[in-house]
């Protein structure tokens, strides 16, 4: 059993009436990439904010390196990339990176930061004149420039094109292979699959599933059937191979192991069934199937 570098124990966090995290227990093991996977609003960013000490739990406890998060000693061993909409626009890439490097006791050499973030040639460019992807990479550079043992990346590759995304993946992977711990949030199953040693699936502030990418994929495989049907919800749930169900008025969404046997059965029972659409399971649908149990209980 590996040591843990960060953990949440029974953490609940509310925003007004909205419960962002619901008695969440989470253990981030030392070393490797831990991906927090979930749709928008699942509590990914809140989890990161709590582990960084930007937020305090309403109940429960957050610890990083065995201490409450946010003290300066642990901050020296942490880098983070947050969802930031702007950075002082009149400073250059070099100025920003040198400033952040200066905060850390043993920063990476500047040239290495630029190379890892894929920013070569943009040293003297002002932040405000960078493209969206270049801005994103500058924020990544600020996260890694201190050579931290623990790295938090909140949706690091959102909005990046495929090639840049893959390049960032390989940098993240290398950091983890060098013994660092990376916690990243994403809503791309593909990203978690490509990078993570361990995936935690968050849904509605709870950990709906946790395991290796292969284990998670095995659980979320399958198909989605959408159609309009007069069939009763209880009847649909009772069909063999149905994992979860969601209904908007007459529209029904079914998460199933295999589409054909379920459809055959449905068509046989409901002659008026229309608007059939079958798709592969996306992440959103994965949550439908993973969280079907909790939803029924609620």
């Amino acid at each position: 059993m590996k040591e843990s570098v960060a953990r949440l124990q029974g953490v609940t966090r509310r925003y007004g009436k909205h419960i962002a995290l619901d008695a969440l227990d989470l253990v981030i093991p030392d070393g490797g990439v831990y991906a927090l996977l979930g749709p928008n609003g699942a509590g990914k960013t809140t989890t990161i904010s709590l582990l960084l000490g930007l937020l305090t739990p309403d109940t429960g406890e957050a610890t990083v390196f065995g201490r409450p998060p946010g003290d300066i000693a642990s901050r020296r061993a942490i880098g983070a990339m947050l969802q930031v909409s702007g950075v002082p626009a009149t400073l250059t890439v070099r100025e920003h990176i040198e400033q952040f490097s200066g905060y850390y006791p043993k920063p990476l050499p500047f040239a290495q930061v630029m190379a890892r973030a894929g920013l070569e040639g943009l040293e003297e460019r002002r932040f405000g004149r960078l493209s969206a992807g270049q801005k994103q990479r500058t924020l990544f550079a600020l996260a890694i420039c201190g050579d931290p043992a623990l790295l938090f990346l909140d949706e690091p590759t959102v909005g990046l094109d495929v090639e840049v995304r893959r390049r960032m993946w390989s940098v993240i992977r290398n950091l983890a292979d060098d013994g660092r711990t990376v916690v990243l949030t994403t809503h791309y199953l593909e990203e978690a699959d490509a990078l993570a040693d361990c995936v935690g699936v968050l849904s509605r502030g709870r950990l709906a599933a946790e395991g290796t990418p292969a284990q998670i994929k095995a659980r979320v495989g399958g198909r989605i059937i959408r159609c309009s049907t007069a069939l009763d919800e209880a009847v649909l749930r009772a069909l063999p191979g149905v994992r979860g169900l969601r209904r908007h008025r007459t529209q029904v969404e079914l998460a199933v192991d295999e589409a054909e046997p379920v459809l055959r059965e449905m068509l046989a029972r409901d002659a008026a069934l229309t608007g059939i659409e079958v798709t592969g399971i996306g992440l959103d649908e994965a949550f439908l199937s993973l969280t079907a149990g909790t939803r029924e209980a609620a």
Partner: protein, 246 residues
């Protein structure tokens, strides 16, 4: 520690220097007004206007960088999420705070040097060297209460509201404190109102330096400014706590 503060301050200054919307008005407005009202219109009933206005436009020059640098700068960085990234970086929040204050003080000093050069060259402003230095020190240190005021505003206001509010505060505050036109020509109730405005007190100290005796004691003005500073810092601290919790 000092190396970090030094770099932070340098980048803070460079950052706003490259921002024409900040640098041009904060540096040029006081100079422009001083040229119009002190050097071109020199009606001086009993006092030497270029000297008198050097002190009060110096105070006006102090207000701009402090109120805009903090009020708008902090509000924008808060809104963008940049402040959150700074909070988790391994650096005390006092470092960016001090850097921004030093930036405001440097700009106040630059404004003073511009005004002083104009006054000495074209307005026949003459003072002993000690008084020049005392005025420069007064105005530079005088940036602190306005930094505190701007910080409080920046932490409480949204980035959309901050520029409008700071502009609405900046000019009336200067006018009502008697920085442009001496308070003696104001109606009595407006003169009394000035006592609750921080620039009035800084102007009283600056005017004392250039030889215009204030009505109240100098120590009183310093204490009032210190009180304002603490009060604004209290409001800022409450804003910081509110921001942390949301």
């Amino acid at each position: 520690m000092f190396a970090i503060l030094g770099r932070e301050t340098r980048l803070q200054v460079i950052g706003v220097w490259r921002m024409p919307a900040f640098a041009v008005p904060t540096l040029m407005f006081p100079a422009m007004f001083y040229i119009f009202f002190a050097l071109l219109f020199t009606r001086s009933p009993g006092m030497h206007m270029p000297t008198w206005l050097l002190a009060t436009y110096g105070v006006f020059g102090v207000m701009g960088p402090a109120l805009f640098g903090f009020g708008i700068g902090v509000a924008v960085e808060k809104g963008e999420g940049w402040l959150r990234l700074k909070r988790i970086a391994p650096v005390s929040p006092l470092v960016p705070l001090c850097a921004r204050t030093l930036m405001a003080m440097l700009f106040a000093l630059i404004v003073f040097v511009i005004l002083a050069s104009l006054g000495a060259a074209f307005g026949d402003v003459r003072m002993p060297r000690a008084d020049w230095i005392a005025l420069a020190v007064t105005l530079t240190a005088g940036a602190i209460p306005f930094c505190a005021m701007g910080l409080a505003a920046g932490l409480w206001l949204s980035p959309q509201a901050a520029p409008a509010v700071m502009n609405l505060v900046y000019l009336p505050l200067a006018f009502l404190s008697g920085l442009w036109i001496p308070l003696v020509v104001f109606p009595a109730w407006l003169q009394q109102l000035a006592v609750i405005l921080p620039p009035y007190h800084l102007a009283a100290i600056a005017l004392d330096v250039v030889g215009s005796k204030p009505a109240e004691s100098l120590v009183g003005h310093v204490l009032v400014l210190a009180g304002f500073t603490l009060a604004f810092l209290g409001v800022a601290a409450a804003g910081w706590r509110r921001m942390r919790e949301s």
